[in-house]
Symmetry: D5
Subunit: 121 residues, 10 copies
């Protein structure tokens, strides 16, 4: 599934590849559907990365995340999938995504996934 | 006692066992009874774990925690027991539970328990 | 049903009946059961009243509210019933109850009920 | 358009029609589409009413609001339309809806609409 | 009892009796004893008044409130008694005292008492 | 001066002229220049109005406020001028603007201006 | 004493005398000396007024308030004196000053003084 | 002096001595007297420890802390003394006490003391 | 471009070069223009550094940042450029800049850049 | 200059020199004068130290800080000078001072200085 969404993401050349620095993007308007019940889920995605040669373009990130609006996805799965897509397209030095979802049945869930570029590269 | 409650917990296969990532579940509606006085206690349980092959299913977690509603349990004991149950059923790479209980007699108590899978695996 | 619970409430003589003054009691640990699903509900009850000849005794109020712990009750209904019980037992000059319930399905509900002693008394 | 959505709303008999009391429902997960750009909008709807003979059922309210998920609607228009639908179905003594929408272009908008039953009843 | 404490309060002439203005004094360190259990109670007293010919002196107010430290007193009673003492000594145009006490048994209590000088004076 | 800026504001027909309702627009990114020193000033403008036949269009409002970016304006003056412009273009039933400016020299200033349509209409 | 300080205050012509509007100035850096102990006192002055023909100039207000830095002044007295000075110089339609002073001996004090221009003017 | 108070503290066997876990107890109602002035001091004590064979019983902790109510004690001294008493009675693996005292003369003080069981055990 | 702005920055001799200490400067009023759309961007810059022989003068920093007011700049680029300028002029032992920009399209971005003087000095 | 102020600071013997513990003193009422403009500056000083043989006496600390009230001092300089004075008088195992100053020209500054006793003692 993510194959199709992944192509929405666009990049531009990192203006300072000679320096390790981090960019944090906070997206409080993420929404998808629960695959079991069809009910909408809501959450805030916080994406932090150290760019290598590429930065993701913010408008395309917004469109990419909107693609999940009518798509079924479990919390643990979708956070990992988004990390995979963003790493594949941006090829960062490191990246971390925190998905903080709103309460369901009185219970609130956060998922934290991380990627670090293998040192052997 | 926990033997019976433990069976309420259900799991599903971890969708990303190849990656270490963490899931935090915040349950502000935990309530049990004080074994001495029979009076209700209230607290927020925050469960954070790195899943291995299994994730706990959220609805079964909710039912499991509700099983304590009319059950007598001391703060220090119940937090340790819940960790034992959840580790036994989920077999995580690591797990931490914080039990933050509401004030009694002007005094507020938090209990923090942790489990890490032995390295010898 | 409330007939039985109502008898739990106890009063003591108002120490200053000659003055109109108000007492606000905030009870953040109210819990009952949803009559449809059997699932627990949680809320904060805030009771404000101007006592006439009687004040309610706080410990008996606590026991009275605890009686709802394993009792089925809809938000709108239970807030009105509690007002009826407390007015019947305390016979205040006025009383207001706010029931602020925790989110269910992403939706949070507050119920506000009020009583004023008829002027014709 | 709202004709179709309106039929999703369900009611139950007010358990205390003899007393004026208010119910406040806070729905932080409202989302619709901007009719111009097709981009999603997000907001919190707070509905406060004094029921007459009918109360709205919370689950049907949730389904009703979800019907706007893929529907184009301007802020000012949609808040008024929802009030019309809810008044038509619930026939309350009074009702107020506050739509608080998230920032767009650095600007945040709240819309407040109110209905009071004509005294001539 | 308060007869003895009342004499601790001292006043000074209101520097602006020709103008109605208000002074609010917030005392977060009030403590007395529960007459039933002998256990200490804690609270914040907020005293607001429009002085007439006299203002209370802050240091004497502090000493007066400290006199309750080892004194038994119910919430409703003590708040009214303090108002009586302060009105007797200060003879203000109006005075309001809010006693906000810390939680006991999961329940928090605020008492609000008010005095207005009779217009016929 | 404002004559030129005023023409930037655009309107659309009020979708519910038959009902009195209010729209609040919060603009935290207002900036102009101090006429004395040439230094930039910053503030949040909150515009609340009851539309009559016309609503202002949000994007044009944004462009209108941006026109002050390199324009000299005193706090008291500019808040009144913006009200004049917006009333002239939108002809509302009533309108209120709060300008809350950031501290200068350790002092913070808010300006509140209001317009109500004369009843003689 | 204030005679000398009063002359520090400067005014400029109200740019909109034809409209009743209010200006609120918040000064969190007020400090004077306790006349008894010589110790410094600190507070926040909030001045709100409806200007008539004159507005006070902010820089002169700052200099005026700084004149109290090494000056002895009781809370109740100084708040009233500042109101007198500012009314005398600005001749507003109405003015209100709130002096919120930091805690001394565990007790915090706020003084609220108000002026309204006599209608007979 | 603390010899007498120390005997108030009671313990119970740690239900999970096989696991290192921590218990945090927050006591916002600590009060003692200033040895110099006789004036009451107020503070919040936060006690965090990893129990070994014994846990302290909460009710006895409350009674122990209340013993300081009419007892003279300097901040630095009393925090160290309480740590000594609690370590002597509970013999924990480690313990930390934070005493956060309310402002006096515009100055607020926190004292942090820690104990770790010698490794040579 | 930054060549011209850089010359605005002024320094003064570090009064304590013998000690490593840090200075944090928080500038919440940074604004520039989006190079694509020409629309203004807003953000808070937090600059933290350990000075070596020079400190930057605060007024010149303010003027330097104001130079971006009508200048096009992408978030990632401008934060890196400012670090380059400030390092070139101040030659600190280390410096960190956090640029926290306000939301655009529901997405908020923070950029964190750091410099450490090479050890070989 | 500080030579004279330094003599104001008084100490008392550390009651627990055998244990490393820390004392944090928060002083929100620091004020001095800007040497350039003569205008008052305001800030909060937070002093944290591990005492060795001596503790500073709080009342003398207050008097010492008040000595800066009419004294010209730059942020970076004064924070370092105060550390020098306090280290000279108290001879602590370590000490840290954070000076957090209020905004000037829309810019806020914090200075952090630290001292650690040389290990060779």
């Amino acid at each position: 599934m993510t194959t199709d969404f992944r192509s929405i993401l666009e990049t531009f050349p990192n203006p300072y590849p000679q320096r390790d620095y981090s960019v944090e993007t906070i997206c409080p308007e993420f929404t998808s559907l629960c695959p079991k019940t069809g009910q909408p889920d809501f959450g805030t995605l916080t994406i932090t990365y150290v760019p290598d040669q590429l930065c993701y373009e913010l408008k395309s990130l917004k469109m990419y995340l909107q693609a999940y609006r009518n798509h079924g996805a479990f919390y643990e799965h979708v956070t990992n999938l988004i990390l995979d897509d963003m790493v594949a397209v941006t090829q960062p030095r490191s990246m971390k995504i925190i998905g903080a979802f709103t309460p369901r049945g009185g219970i609130r869930t956060n998922v934290v996934v991380e990627y670090t570029k293998p040192a052997s590269k």
